[in-house]
Symmetry: C2
Subunit: 465 residues, 2 copies
Amino acid sequence: SPSEREGHSSTQSSHRLLAYSDALISIIATVMILPVAHTKVEDNEELRESVQVLLTTKIAVYLMTFLIVTVAWAAHILFQVIVRIDDCLALLNLACMMLITFLPYTFSLMATFPENVLGILLFCGCVMVIGIIQSVIVLYAFSRPFLLNEQIQISENQTFYKHHILKVIMRVPIMCFFASIFSFIFFQLSYVLLAIIIFLPYISQCLKWCRSKAIQVEETPDSMLFYTYLPNEPLSKERVEAFSDGVYAIVATLLILDIEDNVPDRTVVQKQFGGSLIAALQGYGPEYLAYFGSFATVGLLWFVHHSLFLHVTKATRFMGLLNTFSLAFVGGLPLAYQLTHEFPPNSHNELEAIQISCVIIFFAGIFQLAIWVVALYSEQETLHPYVRYGGREHVFMLAKLALYPCIALGMFFLTCILSKFSAPIFHLMEITVPFAFLVLRILVRVGLALLRLIFCPDRPDRRTI
Amino acid sequence: SPSEREGHSSTQSSHRLLAYSDALISIIATVMILPVAHTKVEDNEELRESVQVLLTTKIAVYLMTFLIVTVAWAAHILFQVIVRIDDCLALLNLACMMLITFLPYTFSLMATFPENVLGILLFCGCVMVIGIIQSVIVLYAFSRPFLLNEQIQISENQTFYKHHILKVIMRVPIMCFFASIFSFIFFQLSYVLLAIIIFLPYISQCLKWCRSKAIQVEETPDSMLFYTYLPNEPLSKERVEAFSDGVYAIVATLLILDIEDNVPDRTVVQKQFGGSLIAALQGYGPEYLAYFGSFATVGLLWFVHHSLFLHVTKATRFMGLLNTFSLAFVGGLPLAYQLTHEFPPNSHNELEAIQISCVIIFFAGIFQLAIWVVALYSEQETLHPYVRYGGREHVFMLAKLALYPCIALGMFFLTCILSKFSAPIFHLMEITVPFAFLVLRILVRVGLALLRLIFCPDRPDRRTI
């Protein structure tokens, strides 16, 4: 066993610590949709206006949280350098996690009081303390080299690694320090700085990548291993999968939390329905339909994600970014669910709620498709032979990924034309899609045969699927 | 890569499906505390009475959900037999998960309308459909033997395995079938049957185990491999850890969801505090303290769990049951957090809320200690040499596990004596415990040296830690 080999009985593999932190981060990112979903929209208001109010504050908080915790998740690559931990490191990491889970609160303060500097200061303070704790973790680990991974342990320039990692870790806290100083002078600038911070790894390193492509700079391959933030830097596929699973699982769970509210009140059943529970529950029919439909959608989006990553052999940072965008929309599904069954049937609001749902599903699906498209550009490294161009699963994979965007798009236009039947159409779609996936393989085969028949009827039939 | 070896390109390792299902199950088990925690307790009511009302309905729903989904989690051992899946199995499993996440709703119906048979019928219906889907999964997998694990694939009596697994899977649905029939005749009996179902694996197999100990029956070792439900049957340690991580992570996240409500209203700040956000936030001081204290408690309980399972080499089913009990109390921590900062300072209700918190922390800790005690009974198989009797980490491990129960117990009695200072004492404890863990190693060493000095001052000093 690996714990037999270790010389220091009090050190431990960092694997489970990383898994726990990942779970915490994926849940905190997703659960922030709840304050958005639970905002009560009055029936007499126009949904469009309410949604605009939502957009300016709560959805902004949700998206910012989602992005910042994804940055935090990526920064946890730290524990791929530090592969063994002791009690002290475990406790320091827990302190870090405590501050990361506190960040959404500071966002809420910012969104509610945008002109007050306190929210910015609190956020910057948290990030700076996180940076200091992470630096302490790095210094502590490098002072006890048996905690590091073997590659660095045997490397001669350990101090180079230490400084490189410290530099990357302290970049964000230092920008936060300037943001907090600017907040006293001209606080609008602080927001610009904060927005830059969130996209910092992508912006700065995209520029670097472009430059390296243009001038053909030769970088030391040694320093490329960790923390380059290049778009083609490999990410741990297992961690991407685990993070995505966490998001899909919590989204599916939030749905049942809402349906819990649909247990009728005892007194209402007694007075309005003469004690008949069945009669009382019949009114909740649309809710059940919406619940099962939404669960099917979340489950199938997970299924598509699962099918895709099964054939991905290496995940890059750019694919990870697209995955984050897809997940951010998946996290919006509880909001879609809440909206679709909140309004009276055939109202204008219901129609718009369903259109919003279609948009959310469309983007969740299209970003999954984008991961696949990006992977195809370097298919030799990132994809399994079966799903490369000409592979026998290639077309089927494409069909799987394109199914949800196509259905969502079709549904959107159908609801525009047949505005009266929007809700039944939407729920019908959600319930029938699983069957579409079951027969998809046959459909693709038939479709390919037809295409072949139309465009090249002379060529002999070649089974591709 | 493993996907290279497979003959059938459309089959996949079931590993990620299992991980996703586990995440879903652990989250659904924990998130059901939210309806309990969000029950508003009025200030003028006596807390004790309100808690009694809670106990009869919502806490019962929470505990039943937690236990039943843990049973569902254990039943997912199915995917240790079926190690490869195809699209069809993945979709069938998602249908299963959809029904499992729907179970809490049926519990709510039962708890709200205990005398109505509809709740029981819905629950039994769901369980029966789950049983049918799981049987279909088994039949489908055994009709395609390349999906099964190698041991069964090469085994000659595949049909024996099939029947054994089907028998175990159908046991609960058949009991539910009888429960639903009884519900028309004498519905109180149905509840007894349902309670038996939840503990069925433990009750029936404890009896079997006792019998086998008494009569020394020789069982075929072949059939012992899966689904024996014996208390000493090995559980996958990785799955126990992942399930526990899910619960701890969601509990930590639920805390921040509540603190989101503590963003003051714009109009209130304008009117009552003259626009000063700092002045408005000062009123929330106790909430921040309670948040950080509760987070520290959850984090450290995870830390203790992590330290324990690091030295566990094999988890048994009985250890899994004790772990479930511990987690059920950990899941109650958001309720404790909600209660402790809801009441005016120095009120009788606040005192009782803190005592409830102490009880919850005590039981969460004592069941962790129980896992360790049970493991010690068969330490040769279940524990790492370092932590066995006489091992150099033995006493330190004991101190780690005993710390929280001792502190919670001490706190409980302190709040009884110094009832005026209960809240400050409680928060002080929660904040200082992390430091206690840091100096625990030194404390244990000093304690051991003292004991040695008192009881056997003649013996030469032997370093054990």
